[in-house]
């Protein structure tokens, strides 16, 4: 079984995001970029499948700020190959462009599964799995929380909301947007990442950035503070007293 995991970088949401001078993108110069957390879940699921059933895990993505870190991290966790598609693109990349770059590369590869994160925090023009599935002409499913080989295909479980899940049997190859892996993404010690870095091993493929139809962002802005919370300060003892007062005032009995 050959599993391709499509991964990407995303602005670290823990950091404050500022809008750049164009007013239509985040200021990428000062933002830290990290691996998309849902892609990490996709990688974890791929590694678990490989450990349980054998096979090969290939990680691929379009080059971006600090993407090598993500690829070396994946190799250190147990991926067999890491491929960086370099097209010299800078700024916000629409899903339609990313999907076409990946599709062109994937058409030259054989695979049974393509796993990627269910979403990314800036995928304004759609989530990758569906767009990529359509470009490759393959069945696809999003919000996947369960995956098992099943005869000649795979058993795929999706969340439908409100705790309802749907399990389907799909004949591969297929493209899946992973919501959660069967276990939390594994931790890999920095020493193993360093080993992966010193071993090198990232394959770099030069590609062209295609054009694609995508929404034109005219303005990026912080949401208006409509119902902004009344702030209670940050001194723990005072805040605690206010919270207890609020709870009691609401008529909820506390012991």
């Amino acid at each position: 079984m050959k599993i391709v995991v499509a991964m990407r970088q995303i602005a670290d949401l823990v950091e404050e995001l500022e809008v750049d001078a164009s007013g239509a993108d985040i200021d990428r110069e000062f933002v830290k970029f990290v691996s998309n957390e849902w892609d990490e879940a996709a990688l974890e699921e791929a590694l678990c499948l490989k450990e349980a059933h054998g096979g090969e895990v290939v990680v691929v993505g379009v080059d971006d700020v600090d993407f090598d870190q993500t690829l070396f991290g994946a190799l250190a966790k147990g991926a067999d190959r890491a491929v960086k598609l370099d097209c010299g693109f800078e700024g916000w990349m629409p899903t339609a462009v990313r999907a076409e770059i990946l599709a062109r590369w994937l058409r030259e590869e054989s695979f049974d599964l393509v796993l990627t994160g269910v979403q990314a925090a800036d995928d304004l023009d759609g989530q990758l799995a569906g767009v990529l599935g359509a470009r490759l002409g393959l069945p696809h499913a999003a919000v996947v929380v369960g995956l098992e080989p099943d005869g000649s295909g795979f058993k795929v479980t999706q969340e439908l909301g409100g705790g309802v899940t749907l399990t389907s049997h799909a004949t591969g190859p297929l493209v899946l947007g992973i919501q959660a892996a069967r276990q939390a993404p594994r931790y890999v010690p920095i020493s193993r990442i360093r080993q992966a870095m010193s071993a090198g091993g990232i394959e770099v493929v030069e590609v062209e950035a295609p054009s694609a139809r995508a929404p034109k962002v005219t303005r990026l802005f912080a949401p208006e503070a409509k119902g902004r919370a009344e702030m209670l300060g940050d001194k723990p003892s005072e805040v605690a007293a206010r919270i207890v007062e609020l709870i009691r005032a609401k008529g909820v009995s506390v012991s």
Binding site: A121, M231, D234, I247
Partner: protein, 319 residues
């Protein structure tokens, strides 16, 4: 004129039609009116309960093998076939599983524009303008979708719903769909397990998010919940990490809760989480990031560290 028509994909997969379908019908009527078009609603699989979708000008009931229960591959084929006939200007769905499954693929196949996470939509001249919520709700993107065909997936709760719950369908058409090739087949639809944990019945919920940091820290929140006589709930990252069972999850893929008090500890407030708790009577949020979106829905907030705050509350209440 069909090229100005608006299509709503009804996303009923179990139970009744979800609120979001009515929200989308309301927005569809507004956009169709501005464009001079009409509203179509597509009901795929089972026609059950379609009578309340009377707000649409045209109701399309699509039935066929593999379309019920929900099957992403078969639905895509059925919706694609119907859209080829209708040739609408705009297709609306939600940014939920069905909308994500269908819209990215259908937009890619037809070369149409697509905007996700949309919270507002309007027509300016012949152009569709959308506002989308990005970066976990930290930033909004106003965007131009041009004057050609477009797909939009909206965040549930963005538009009003009640006015469009209209009984009586004047113009319903039945369609039989036969997929050329079905590569996904139904195995099982599973409703949530009854575990004995019912966070929807609690008056007070202590809810933890990613900020709780580790499984061992859950004990601190558990202790607070016990001392307050509250239920313990969590946002998705805590459940995905396996730190609490699924029955404790609040949000789109978990439960919708309306307690008297919702004490959010270390929860940033991703749109999917807010969808499940914004109707709580009183929301108190604790997050060290002063820009966290949770403070937009909370009534009271603090940037104190939860690991300093919780012991203080325990001290006060006699923990």
């Amino acid at each position: 004129m069909a090229e100005n028509d608006v299509v709503v994909i009804a996303e009923r997969v179990v139970g009744g039609h979800p609120d979001v379908t009515f929200e989308l019908l309301g927005k569809a009527k507004e956009i169709a009116s501005a464009l001079g078009g009409e509203v179509h609603c597509l009901v795929v699989g089972s026609p059950e309960g379609h009578e309340c979708l009377g707000a649409s000008d045209h109701l399309h009931l699509v039935e066929g093998e593999h379309l019920w229960p929900y099957n992403p591959h078969a639905w895509e084929s059925a919706v694609s076939a119907l859209l080829t006939q209708i040739k609408p200007r705009l297709v609306l769905a939600s940014t939920g599983t069905v909308g994500i499954d269908l819209c990215g693929a259908l937009a890619a196949q037809s070369g149409s524009m697509l905007a996700s996470y949309v919270v507002d939509l309007s027509v300016e001249g012949s152009t569709l303008m959308a506002v989308a919520q990005l970066y976990g709700g930290k930033l909004m993107a106003e965007c131009d979708l041009g004057d050609g065909p477009a797909f939009v997936t909206a965040i549930p709760g963005s538009f009003a719903s009640q006015a469009t719950r209209v009984d009586g369908v004047a113009n319903a058409t039945s369609h039989a769909h036969e997929a050329a090739e079905v590569r996904m087949r139904h195995v099982a639809l599973t409703e949530p397990e009854k575990t004995g944990v019912d966070i929807t019945s609690e008056e007070l919920l202590v809810s933890v998010g990613r900020g709780i940091g580790s499984q061992s820290n859950i004990d601190l929140a558990q202790e607070l919940a016990e001392v307050l006589g509250a239920g313990l709930s969590a946002s998705r990252p805590v459940i995905d990490q396996g730190w609490l069972p699924k029955a404790h999850q609040v949000g789109k893929s978990g439960k919708k809760v309306k307690p008297k008090i919702y004490l959010a500890l270390g929860i940033s407030g991703a749109p999917e989480h807010l969808e499940g708790m914004r109707q709580a009577e009183l929301i108190i949020a604790c997050n060290t990031d002063a820009t966290a979106p949770i403070f937009e829905v909370a009534h009271y907030g603090t940037t104190a560290d939860l690991f300093d705050l919780v012991p203080e509350i325990l001290d006060l209440i006699g923990g």
